[in-house]
């Protein structure tokens, strides 16, 4: 209080005011107020000048980016064609709906609204919401493709209430023959978050844009992807489009043409039927891979449309591994299929074809007796091949040494990786002493030679290698497989065998099928074409566990068959491997029918139809049925698969070849050439029309 009083008294004289002092104060202070106002006015003017003039460029840009919405148009993907130009993978125009999770305000409600419009099942909705939870940033999540126009319109109308939902017209990848090309072609899918981080290109997160995810789709990504188009539109703040400003069309990706024969690929895949296995066919003259079917497979259409949880778990849990390409990544002991090739090695080492041994149901090597699968008596090279006598190979492999044999195995393509545009191939093992020392640090033993001489032991090969081996055996050329049609056909190096030697082995392999050999039922039902081949059976477990023919599926022997035809002038060569087929008897009928189809499609299909009837439909139909059954077991409801509408795509189906041949026949009928173009409809053209249906 004292302090207060003191201050008060100290300042008191200044507080003496009068009219004049107040007047002065008003003048002073109103000047201050005026100056303050002027100051703020100046600041505002300066600020405005700064924003509008100094920063003008930046704000003009922002204003433009507000006003103009640039949306990328996903490019149409290039087609993957078979050797005749028919599409193995094409695009189908459709209406689709995606959602961008980050822009959704209430994902659950939005999804519920979409489910109602589109008629999605609880199963679909669960899949989509799982995807939404996993999604990062602006990565679009596919909700549905293949909508009809009414659904598309219904969603478009409700867009203002459904933030984050992107309906659009687009193209979806379509694989006409589905599972038949699954492993070969692969599939496409939206870019993952990792892929976007690696290459932050806005096209990757454009709804509807898909990249190759596996096999050839991934391998040829750069060629297939094309160039995105762009559409500039003026939009309001709420996203309503006011007008189009400018549109740049997309550029479709380049087509990739394969050496694959589409109908043959489909036929082989379907002919494998219920078995788990693969079939490879090569053109001996060019090395063209005509088919490389691996079954059971997946439907790449489902993958490309965003595979469901249930369907994926069905594929993953299958003991027949439908997710593995068995042609390139299935490794099997080649078994007896290597015997003709081993004979070539013996020939090269100076063994004469006439040199023979006595098979007494086996052969003593060192101090152990090794069984043959039968007692063949006197065996020369030809008999060793067509009767598949093990003793002969125990003996001569011992005589020439296995290094020599292994050297030829490599020359013939076993244990080799081929220069093919594939994501990966397992090249297996051709055992030899140096390899064993490297791998196990133990010495090569006589029993190693014995085992390896009949394609067992450490020997591991993939079906493509077996097919290449067959082609090289058949021609004596170092046939190199080729998968792209636009790669130049190479001149193959010829092995130093005399024509007589090659003919000798060809004849012996022909006898396997057409003579007194092990695969009599493999004879082609054709008059003028003889197929040569060699059976093989690869043990999976020791005889003490299973006899390899019956019992649990996974203990049964693998069945193998290598072949070429026609035997005297080889044009096609190939291999069929059936996992756990219970012996070569599972493999060669398939090879027979595939080759029959190649030479005579009608006869081939005749053989396939009753089988498919018995199996319950084509591979595609069986896969669909299996999925429905699996889903039902898992307590989910799956919509029946919609029927395909675009008949144009059917030209790679096995049946397409038949129709094509018929058409060709009609075309070749003698008709008046000069008036062909302008002829009125006659009975002849009526015929053509009727038969084509």
């Amino acid at each position: 209080m004292g302090l207060f009083r003191k201050r008060r008294t100290g300042t008191k004289p200044r507080e003496l005011v009068s009219q004049t002092t107040l007047e002065n104060a008003f003048n002073r202070r109103s000047f201050v107020i005026g100056a303050g106002m002027g100051g703020i006015g100046t600041i505002l003017a300066a600020r405005m000048a700064y924003i509008a003039i100094a920063e003008n460029e930046r704000w003009v840009l922002e204003s433009e980016s507000n006003r103009v919405n640039l949306s990328l148009i996903p490019p149409r993907r290039g087609w993957i064609l078979d050797r005749n130009g028919a599409p193995l993978a094409s695009n189908r125009a459709d209406f689709r709906v995606d959602v961008i999770p980050e822009r959704m305000r209430d994902p659950e409600a939005t999804l519920a609204a979409l489910a109602e419009i589109l008629g999605l099942t609880a199963n679909n909705v669960a899949d989509i919401s799982a995807n939404i939870e996993d999604a990062r940033g602006f990565q679009p999540i596919e909700v549905a493709t293949g909508l009809d126009y009414e659904q598309f319109a219904a969603i478009s109308v409700r867009l203002p209430d459904l933030p984050g939902v992107v309906p659009q017209r687009g193209f979806s990848r379509f694989y006409p023959t589905g599972p038949s090309v699954g492993h070969l072609i692969g599939y496409v899918g939206p870019a993952s978050a990792e892929e976007y981080e690696e290459r932050p290109d806005p096209i990757l997160i454009t709804p509807g844009y898909k990249i190759g995810k596996d096999a050839l789709e991934a391998q040829f990504e750069d060629e297939l992807q094309g160039e995105p188009g762009a559409r500039r539109v003026e939009v309001t703040a709420s996203g309503r489009i006011v007008r189009d400003l400018e549109t740049r069309e997309d550029r479709q990706g380049a087509p990739v043409r394969l050496t694959i024969d589409g109908p043959l690929q489909d036929y082989a895949a379907r002919r494998i039927g219920l078995e788990s296995g693969s079939c490879v066919v090569l053109d001996c003259e060019t090395g063209d891979i005509l088919c490389m079917s691996s079954m059971p497979s997946f439907d790449p259409n489902s993958f490309s449309a965003g595979i469901g949880r249930v369907e994926y778990s069905m594929l993953r849990d299958d003991e027949r591994v439908p997710l593995r390409n068995k042609v390139l990544k299935g490794l099997y002991p080649p078994g007896s299929t290597v015997k003709p090739m081993h004979c070539m090695a013996f020939l090269d080492a100076g063994v004469k074809p006439e040199e023979s041994i006595m098979c007494n149901g086996g052969r003593r090597v060192g101090n152990r007796f090794f069984n043959c699968w039968s007692n063949h008596g006197r065996v020369d090279m030809a008999k060793a091949i067509y009767q598949s006598c093990d003793s002969y190979f125990y003996h001569f492999a011992q005589q020439v040494g296995f290094e020599k044999v292994a050297e030829w195995a490599h020359k013939m393509g076993l244990g080799e990786e081929f220069d093919l545009p594939v994501i990966s191939q397992f090249y297996g093992t051709v055992p030899d002493p140096a390899w064993k020392r490297r791998k196990f640090e133990t010495e090569w033993q006589p029993y190693d030679t014995v085992n390896s001489s009949i394609g067992q032991g450490y020997y591991l090969t993939n079906p493509l290698q077996l097919a290449v081996m067959a082609a090289r055996l058949a021609t004596g050329d170092r046939v190199v497989p080729r998968l792209r049609m636009d790669e130049p056909v190479r001149e193959f190096e010829h092995f130093a065998f005399t024509p007589e030697q090659i003919d000798y082995v060809r004849q012996a392999m022909s006898d396997t099928v057409n003579g007194p050999g092990t695969a009599g039922r493999a004879r082609l039902p054709l008059e003028n074409v003889l197929m040569a081949g060699k059976t093989g059976t690869a043990q999976v477990v020791s005889l003490s566990i299973s006899d390899g023919k019956t019992g649990p599926w996974k203990y049964r022997d693998h069945g193998l068959f290598v072949f070429f035809a026609p035997f005297d002038k080889p044009k096609y060569a190939g291999a069929v491997v059936i996992e756990h087929g219970g012996g070569s008897g599972a493999a060669y009928p398939i090879a027979r029918d595939v080759m029959t189809y190649l030479f005579d499609p009608a006869k081939g299909l005749e053989a396939l139809r009753p089988l498919e009837e018995q199996w319950g439909g084509t591979a595609q139909q069986r896969l669909d049925a299996k999925y429905r059954a699996y889903a039902a077991a898992a307590g989910e409801v799956v919509q029946p698969v919609p029927q395909r509408s675009e008949q144009i795509f059917d030209q790679v189906e096995a049946e397409a070849r038949l129709a094509q041949r018929q058409a060709e026949e009609f075309a070749q009928r003698p008709v008046g050439v000069e008036n062909e173009g302008s002829r009125a409809p006659t009975s002849e053209t009526d015929n053509l029309g009727r038969n084509n249906q």
Binding site: V17, R29, G41, I51, A52
Partner: protein, 373 residues
């Protein structure tokens, strides 16, 4: 002036009226564009309202000093009662309300309170014995005159109007000659209290606005969106703008409230920096004229009223422009004479009318010397 112009016409404060008409007409143009080229939507009623309120301003300007001094307190009390009535009606009706309805007319008492509070404080200090001015005892009634309405307006809640009343009252008290150290002390105390006021005095949405103002990038799609869009509109206008009716920010709805709070951004986008200078210039002339009227006034009441009215108009202009340029948080204060809206037009025209009135008093009774009544 020369003999051609009749005296009653020449007597009018043309120095203020020309820029005022300029702003109104310019405002009508901008509002036409804000409605995407539709004159009827905003611009028509803008001009109509101006016409009505201009007549009102002229009527006000005819009032005599004695009458005004007589009516000041009663008017203040009536408006205060209306303010309380708004609060009661709001409480009874449930939910907050800012206006009273009398037939077709909606009266917003808080708007009327701005000039009324200024007049009341000016009246109080204008008639206070000179020696009492710097005393604490004399401060209390003045503080009461200002704080009572502020309290009721804050209850509505309407921060912008509260601040406007406070600003008007503050300017009058400052000019009345109160000791400077009180203002300095109040300023320091205010700074110290700001955090407390922020956390306990402001509503959630007001807190958010302040935070957004401090860091607009923090919330680019929410509150910061408005400021950012406003800056985009002003910035993209450049020197001469995109041209009449060509503004994409306003036409494509990016700019929020393109006809009220952010009308300056709408204008700047289409007329550029040049348009901005025109608006600033007009306001500068009007406000300078207002201060000059205050200085030329004969008595303290007139001086303080004129200065207070000028300050009230200035407050609108400054806060609105600071807001649209990103220097102040988003408070719903329109730009005088340009924004579409009846209540702000009314308040500002009352201020103009009062200024014209004092201008008339000044002309009628020219300042004679240092000693005046």
């Amino acid at each position: 002036m020369s003999g051609i112009v009749p005296a009653p016409v020449a007597r009018q404060p043309w120095m203020m009226l020309f820029p005022l008409f300029g702003l109104i007409i310019f405002g009508a143009l901008v509002l036409t564009s804000a409605a995407a080229g539709n004159f009827d939507a905003y611009a028509k009623s803008h001009l109509l309202r101006f016409g009505i309120f201009f007549v009102m301003a002229v009527v006000i300007s005819r009032f005599g000093k004695d009458l005004v001094e007589l009516l000041t307190y009663p008017a203040y009390i009536v408006i205060l009662l209306m303010l309380i009535a708004v609060e009661i009606v709001g409480q009874v009706g449930g939910g907050s309300q800012r206006w009273l309805e009398a037939g077709p007319i909606r009266i917003q008492p808080s708007e009327l309170m701005k000039p009324a509070a200024v007049m009341a404080v000016a009246h109080y200090y204008g008639h206070l014995p000179v020696g009492m001015v710097p005393s604490w005892r004399a401060l209390m009634p003045a503080a009461g005159i200002i704080l009572t309405p502020i309290a009721f307006v804050l209850l509505q809640p309407d921060l912008g109007t509260s601040l406007a009343i406070a600003f008007g009252g503050f300017v009058v008290m400052f000019l009345a000659g109160l000791p400077l150290r009180w203002f300095i002390g109040a300023g320091i105390a205010g700074l110290a209290m700001a955090p407390v006021a922020f956390f306990f005095g402001l509503q959630d949405y007001q807190q958010k606005r302040v935070l957004t103002f401090l860091d607009p990038e923090n919330d680019p799609l929410g509150d910061g969106y408005q400021i950012t869009q406003s800056k985009i509109a002003i910035g993209s206008g450049g020197l001469f703008g995109k041209g009449f009716n060509e503004g994409s920010q306003s036409h494509l709805n990016y700019l929020p409230e393109p006809h009220t709070d952010f009308v300056f951004a709408t204008m700047a986008e289409e007329w550029g920096f040049a348009g901005g200078l025109f608006v600033l210039g007009c306001f500068g002339i009007i406000l300078t004229w207002g201060l000059r009227v205050a200085r030329a006034a004969n008595d303290r009441f007139s001086k303080l009223v004129a200065a207070g009215m000028t300050a009230t108009i200035f407050f609108y202009v400054a806060i609105n422009l600071l807001m649209v340029m990103g220097f102040a948080p988003v408070v719903g204060i329109p730009l005088p004479f340009i924004s579409h809206g009846g209540s702000s037009m009314m308040t500002n025209m009352i201020c103009i009318g009062v200024l014209m009135m004092i201008h008339r008093w000044n002309l009628k009774q020219p300042r004679t010397g240092l000693i005046a009544s």
